[in-house]
Each structure stands twice: as C-alpha cells, then as structure tokens.
C-alpha cells in the first residue's frame, strides 16, 4: 500500500517530493506530464496518485477526466500553485480527496497525509 504515482512537471519539486516520500518509505513513480501519467495509470493503477494541475501535453484536469471515464478508484491528491483554487464541487466531481497548495505545503504534512491514507487503505484491505 505504498505505491505513489507523482505527476509533476517541475523537476525540482518532483525531486524534492520523491526524495521525501521515499524517505518516508513510499515507492514513487514519476510522470513528467499528463500523457505519461495516463499511460502509467493505465498500466498499473497506483495506491495513491499525486497529481499536479498545470502540466504539458495533458493537464491535471485531463488526467482526472480520464480516470473518471475509466472508472478508476484510487485516492487522488492534487498539487497546485495556481492562484485560482479548485472548488469543492470540482473535487467531488473527480473524487479528489484534497488539493495541496504547493507553496503552502510542508513536505512533512504531505507525508503525513500519505501515511494516513495508506494506513486507512491497509485497514480496509485487511
């Protein structure tokens, strides 16, 4: 219960995030753009998806629509630095658990949320 797909186009953020999560014991697969994220998801559904909104080729909304169309169900967290936030209705529509504002996010807080979801999932499976 520790496979995370991290879809983030910024190399520095991607590196920092992966580093911290792997330090926390998660297995992190990277996708540099929305198209890569869709391909990875279709190949092997993750335990948790960390999805950046602003990405080249296919943006975060495109990926969410693909997931919805496919009917995939796995925990999704959005990462955004847009000045416009996502509305609660949009979160509900795509089954997003939370949207983190990267500039306000502590990596430790992110890791904490991942641990919590992973723990819940483990209990559910059990």
């Amino acid at each position: 219960m520790n496979r995370i797909i991290l879809a983030e186009d910024d190399p520095f953020l991607m590196k920092m995030c992966r580093s911290h999560l792997e330090f926390e014991g998660f297995s992190v697969t990277l996708a540099r753009d929305g198209a890569e994220a869709i391909a990875l998801i279709d190949k092997e559904k993750p335990d948790i998806l960390l999805l950046d909104l602003l990405m080249p080729k296919v943006d975060g909304f495109g990926v969410l629509q693909h997931i919805k169309d496919k009917g995939y169900t796995f925990p999704i967290f959005l990462l955004s630095n847009l000045s416009v936030e996502i509305t609660p209705e949009q979160l509900d529509e795509f089954g997003v658990l939370k949207c983190f504002i990267k500039s306000e996010l502590e990596l430790e807080e992110l890791a904490k949320s991942m641990r919590k979801i992973a723990g819940e999932k483990a209990k559910a499976v059990a």
Binding site: F12, M16, C17, L54, L82, S83, V84, K102, S103
Partner: protein
C-alpha cells in the same frame, strides 16, 4: 305774393288752395272795379285777408321762410324764428340783422367760419343770380346746438325790375347731416378699429377721432382682472388739458366711491346719458373736496355720455364723451351712436385679446416645437457624436435610429422600421457564457416589455463575417404619457477590455505558478536540509538554512498577498457566501499561528461562543483574521499578550484582535491601510513584515462591505475591530 313756383316746389299740396284764392281775388277785383272808395277799402280788406291767409299757409310749412329787404326782415314764419332761436315771429322781426347774427356762429361744412357775404340772400339782394342752394352749418351760441340748412334764395322784383326782396327758404337737414356725419365717423372708426390688433392703439386712435367732432373730451377706462380701473386714454384738442387730466387721474384714481357710474356701467352693461351736467353731479364727483370741485367746475363740462365697451357678453370698460367748450348737448341720437361705437370698440378689444391669446398659444407652440426640434437635433447630435454605439427602437422593437459607431460594431446597417430586424442590429447575439440568444429574449426586448432599464449587461455580438465582439449594454426604455414608446441602447465594445482582463488574469495565474513553483522547491529543499535528511549540519549551517527558510517563507507570503491583491483589484475575486462557524475558523487560525506565538512565548486567547455562525465568505474572513492575528503576533514582543474575540450584536458580527505590543505612532495612523506601509517604530524591530497585510485586509473588508477600525498607542498596544453585517447567501 309768394312765387307760385316756390310753393309748387315746397308745398305742392297748398297749390289748389292758393289757386282758388287767386281766382277768387281776381273775381273780386272785377266786381269792385267801378268804385274807387270801395276799391280802396276792398284792397285794404283784401290785403289784410291775404296777409292772414299767407300767415296761415306759410305758418304750416315746416321750413324756415323769411323775406328780407336790404334794411331788414319783412316777413318770417314761426319755423324761421324758432330756427334762429327766437320765441316768436314778432321778436324775430323786431331784431336787427346784427343782433340776429350775434346769436350764431356760421360755419362751413368742415367747421371753418362761413363768410356772411356768401349767404345766398345777401347775394340775391346784391343783384347776383343765385341758382344753386347753399348748405350752411351754424351753431347756436346759447345752446351750442348745431344745425345744417340748405338755403334757397329767390329775388322779388319791383315794377322796374329792381330786386326789392330776397325770399329765403331754409330747409333743415340737421338730422340727415348728423346721421351722415355719424356714419362717416363710424366708417372712419371702423377703419381705425381694424387697423391694429393692439387694443391700446385702437382705443387711442378712436378717441383721437372723437375729439373734437363728436365731443370735447373722450376717455376710455378699462377694467383690470383685479377689478381696478385702468384709465387707458384721455383726449382733448388741447394737449395741456390732456396732461392736466392725466395728472388729475393719478392724483385722484378712479374708485367705486369717486366713479360709481363707471363701475355701474361695467356691471350693468347699460349706457348713461347726462344731457346736462348739474352742479350736484360735480359735487358728487368731487367727494366733498372743495378744491377738487373747483378744478372740475373750471373745466366747464356741460353734457356727457358714457357707454360700455362690450362684446360677446363681456364688458371690458367704458367709453366716455364730455362736452365742455363746444357747449354741445348730447341727446338720444348721440347716445345711440356712442353705444354703437362702444360695441364696435368692445368687439375690437375682444378680437385683440383673442388674437393675443392665439398668438401666445402659437408662440408657445412654436417655442415648444422649436425647443422640441432643437432638443431632437441636440439628441441626435449627441448620439451621432458618442464614441460608443447607440440605437433606438420603437415600442415594437423596430430599430428607428442607429449611430455610425453602432454600425461599425455590428459590421452591418440594419433595416430601419423593419420587424424582421427587431431589437438589435447585430447579426447574432450570444450571452457572455456563449449561448445563442433569440432576439425576442434580448435585453432590449425585455426593456420594452417590462419598462425597466437594464444597465451593464454583457452580451456577445456576432458580425456577418463571423467575428465576435463583447459589448456592455445599457438600455433605458422611453416613456410618454405613461406608456412605453421605445427604448435607447448605448453599448460599449469591451472586447479589448475583456482581453486585457483575461490577459491580466492569466498573467496573475501564470505569475502565481511561475513564482511559487521555484519557491516551493527552495522551501522544500531547505526543509529537507533543516530536517537533516540530506545529512547532518553544522551549527553554522543550521543557522544559515534557518535564515534561508525564513526568507523563502517571507517571499512566499509576499507573493501570496500580492497575488491576492491583484485579483481583488482586477475584480477577479468572487464571493462564496455560506454559513461560517466562527469558533472553528478561529481554531484553525490558532493551529496555524501556534508555532509563531509559541516561539515568541506569547499568551494568546481566543474568545468566541461555540454557536456563533454568520453567513459570509469563509476564505476571505479567514484571510482577514489571519492577517490581523499574524500582525498582532509579529508586532508584540516576547511574552506579550494577544486576545482574539468574536461576538454577535444584533445583525452585526464583531471580531477584535487586541495586543499589548509596540502600538502605532499617532502621526502614522492615517497611513496604516496604504500599500507597503510599515510603521517606523517596528521597521527596525521586525524585518518580516511586507507592508501589504493591512492594505489587503482593507480591500477584503470592502469586498465584504464591512468596516475596520483600530485604536493604538505607542508602546501600549493596538486593538483592531472588524465589523461585518451578515450577508445573505
């Protein structure tokens, strides 16, 4: 003996009697031829009889007959004596010619003195052959009466052919002449009455005609609307007397007491004749003022008449005639003429008033029409010159006018007054969301239906070439007499503005992303370093990393604040109203700020009842509260005290953030809500402030339509007070 010819001309009915008498005399003569004594006696009897018969016949002739010799009158009938102002024939015959002439003024028809030598009787006695009758006008000095006579004179020859007598017949044509004069006057007056539509001019001109032919004084008094009298004109042939009369009237204005007859005539509409003006009348007019009486008496008024000026049932005033110097005496004939003149003047005044009313109405209509034309012209000009599109529709939505700018925006010129092009000249209309709008559902159609104005409505207009523009429309219906007669639409092309707004919004979004993303990377890297996941740090390294982390946080906060301010200023922030649980909100802020006030060892208290809920925008309220609490923590020294409280009072929500920190210097109170302001007393103490926090708070308070105030004293602390009225969701 009277020439038979004269008798035949003047009294043909007496001819048979005269012929009978003559025949009888001839028979008598024949019988008495033989005796001289008898003849003499008979002749005496005959003469006496003849004289008596003559007197009887001549006396019954209603014409003046006199027979005069060069030494005087030898015969006159009663009529002649009366015409000359004598009570009897005997008195008349005993008077000398000079005495007789003293009684008269002989005048020509035009009123100029008539030379005595021109009289036909004198000419006949002088041996002149006078075949034509002569018309003479004469005035009896004693009474002022005027008469006209046609005089015929025939010579009576003696046995040797010498003219012994002049036989004069005076035919009185006074009545006809007066009638003729009055008719002529009426004709002249009619011409004057129709020469002007100004009633004052009419009155003055007619009064001038009256004097001196009809009267010595002529005056017109009109009644004003307030019931007072207006002495419009007074005329006399002597200008000095006119001036006197005007001054007199100014000194003694006509009142009901002083001029009862004037008021009576106006009120009754009946004329009044004063054949002879008595002293009692003058005394009444002077109202017991002896000086005034003396003045009136000196005028020598002897006869007067006053007539109403009436027309169409209304009496406008009084026309007065007074005889003074001429001593003429007015009678019923004069009064009848005066009443006729009064009616004519009344009609002229009524017509003048009607004309003036019609003229005023026309002027007003003309002025209104001119004003309307001017107004229409100015309106058109205004619409033509507007830098934005404008068009008008009638009540059915047909386009009645559009300006050049509208045509430019539409990219076409719609058909005017055509039902197929109702409500808009655009090819197609869309909402701001992009859905097609039917013409019948457009804002113009709504305005014509409801009669309401619709301002600031965003609409997308499509041109025939497919290009689109975004317009902001302002539609106002036009009402007339309580019904909608049309509407005007002024619309502004805001396409560029929208693009700019969108570009700004995109820029802000992009800037937010592009600035925040690397900062996030920096912060996460510093976090990693600080947590020593990347390896242990020396003390010095730890301090450096800590400083770098603080700077990066400061930069993040500044960017976040600036971006939010940009969004507010770009009108890009929409309120999301919902019930906000205040205790929960303050709890979140407490959690988020706890590391800070723990670090500074400050005591922070939150006071709020658990059931306090207000409808507002949660994010914005949290931003406000966070900024205020953050400021309180920042600007209160170590071990300081901060109190945050929230309560509800009626329909108002109060949030207070109180600290015992550095305070704000009094001379800087008026600047604390301005951009980048930081009070001088804290700049050196605290390096972390951006100077944007309170500016942002003020903007956000304006969005919520709330109010923010504060009290502060340097070195004592500051209390910020926020008041929000609950906003309906």
């Amino acid at each position: 003996m009277i020439p038979q010819a004269v008798l035949a001309q003047r009294q043909p009915s007496l001819l048979p009697a005269f012929e009978k008498f003559e025949k009888k005399e001839n028979e008598k003569k024949k019988k008495l031829n033989k005796s001289a004594k008898s003849r003499s006696m008979h002749e005496k009897d005959t003469a006496a009889e003849a004289n008596a018969f003559l007197q009887t016949i001549v006396g019954s002739i209603s014409e003046g007959i006199i027979v005069q010799s060069r030494s005087g009158l030898v015969f006159a009938n009663k009529y002649a004596a009366r015409m000359c102002g004598f009570d009897s024939v005997e008195e008349y015959l005993s008077a000398t010619p000079a005495k007789i002439m003293e009684r008269f003024e002989l005048l020509s028809e035009d009123g100029s003195p008539y030379p005595l030598s021109n009289l036909p009787n004198r000419r006949v006695l002088a041996g002149e052959k006078v075949t034509e009758p002569v018309t003479v006008r004469y005035r009896v000095k004693a009474t002022g009466e005027e008469f006209w006579s046609v005089i015929r004179s025939e010579p009576v020859h003696g046995p040797d052919g010498e003219v012994l007598y002049a036989l004069n017949v005076f035919h009185d044509i006074t009545k006809e002449k007066r009638q003729e004069r009055l008719s002529n006057f009426i004709n002249k007056a009619s011409a004057v009455l129709s020469s002007s539509l100004d009633h004052r001019v009419i009155i003055q001109n007619v009064s001038d005609l009256v004097v001196p032919d009809i009267a010595d004084w002529c005056g017109v008094t009109l009644m004003r609307d307030d019931g007072t009298l207006d002495p419009v004109s007074v005329v006399h042939f002597d200008p000095a007397k006119v001036r006197w009369a005007i001054e007199y009237r100014e000194k003694y204005p006509a009142t009901r007491e002083s001029s009862p007859s004037t008021f009576r005539i106006i009120e009754t509409g009946k004329a009044e004749l004063y054949k002879t003006i008595t002293n009692e009348m003058l005394e009444a007019g002077s109202q017991g003022d002896p000086q005034r009486l003396k003045v009136i008496q000196e005028l020598g008024m002897c006869s007067a008449m006053a007539v109403p000026l009436t027309a169409r049932g209304k009496t406008y005033g009084v026309l007065s005639f007074v005889s003074a110097e001429s001593k003429r005496q007015f009678d019923e004939t004069d009064l009848s003429f005066a009443e006729d003149l009064g009616r004519r003047i009344g009609i002229a005044i009524a017509n003048a008033h009607l004309y003036q009313e019609a003229r005023d109405a026309l002027d007003e209509q003309f002025t209104t029409q001119e004003a309307l034309k001017r107004s229409e012209y100015q309106y058109r000009l205004l619409l033509e010159r507007l830098p934005v599109g404008a068009y008008t529709c009638d009540a059915e939505g047909r386009i009645t006018y559009f300006n050049p700018q509208a045509e430019a925006v539409w990219g076409r010129a719609p058909k005017l007054n055509d039902l197929s092009e109702r409500f808009s000249g655009a090819f197609k209309i869309y909402s701001s969301e992009g859905s097609l709008i039917k013409r019948e559902e457009s804002w113009m159609a709504k305005a014509l239906e409801t009669g309401h104005s619709y301002w600031g409505k965003e609409t997308v207009l499509e041109r025939p070439d497919g290009s689109r523009i975004t317009g902001l429309t302002h539609i106002s219906p036009i009402h007339e007499s309580g019904r909608i007669v049309g509407a005007v639409n002024i619309f502004v092309d805001i396409t560029k503005l929208k693009r700019v707004e969108q570009a700004k919004s995109e820029f802000v979004s992009l800037a937010s992303h592009q600035l925040r993303t690397p900062l996030t990377a920096v912060r996460w890297a510093l976090d990693a370093l600080q947590s020593e996941r990347a390896g242990a740090l020396t003390e010095f390294q730890r301090e450096m990393v800590a400083d770098a982390a603080k700077c990066s946080l400061h930069m993040s906060e500044t960017i976040a604040t600036m971006l939010m301010i940009s969004r507010i200023e770009a009108d890009d922030l929409e309120l999301e109203i919902a019930d906000v649980h205040i205790a929960e909100l303050l709890g979140e802020i407490h959690s988020e700020q706890k590391p800070m006030f723990h670090r500074r060892q400050q005591s922070v208290s939150f006071e709020c009842s658990d059931d306090l809920v207000i409808p507002t925008d949660r994010k914005i309220l949290k931003e406000i509260a966070t900024n205020l609490v953050s400021n309180a923590v920042k600007y209160t020294p170590k071990n300081g005290r901060i109190r945050i409280s929230a309560r509800r009072e009626g329909n108002h929500f109060w949030l207070e953030v109180e600290d015992n920190g550095y305070g704000i210097p009094k001379d800087q109170h008026d600047r604390i809500f301005t951009k980048f302001f930081r009070a001088q007393n804290v700049v050196l103490k605290e390096k972390e402030g951006t100077g944007l926090g309170l500016y942002l708070v003020k903007l956000l308070m304006d969005l919520l339509k709330g109010d923010i105030s504060f009290v502060s004293e340097e070195e004592k602390g500051t209390t910020f007070r926020v008041q929000i009225s609950p906003i309906a969701a």
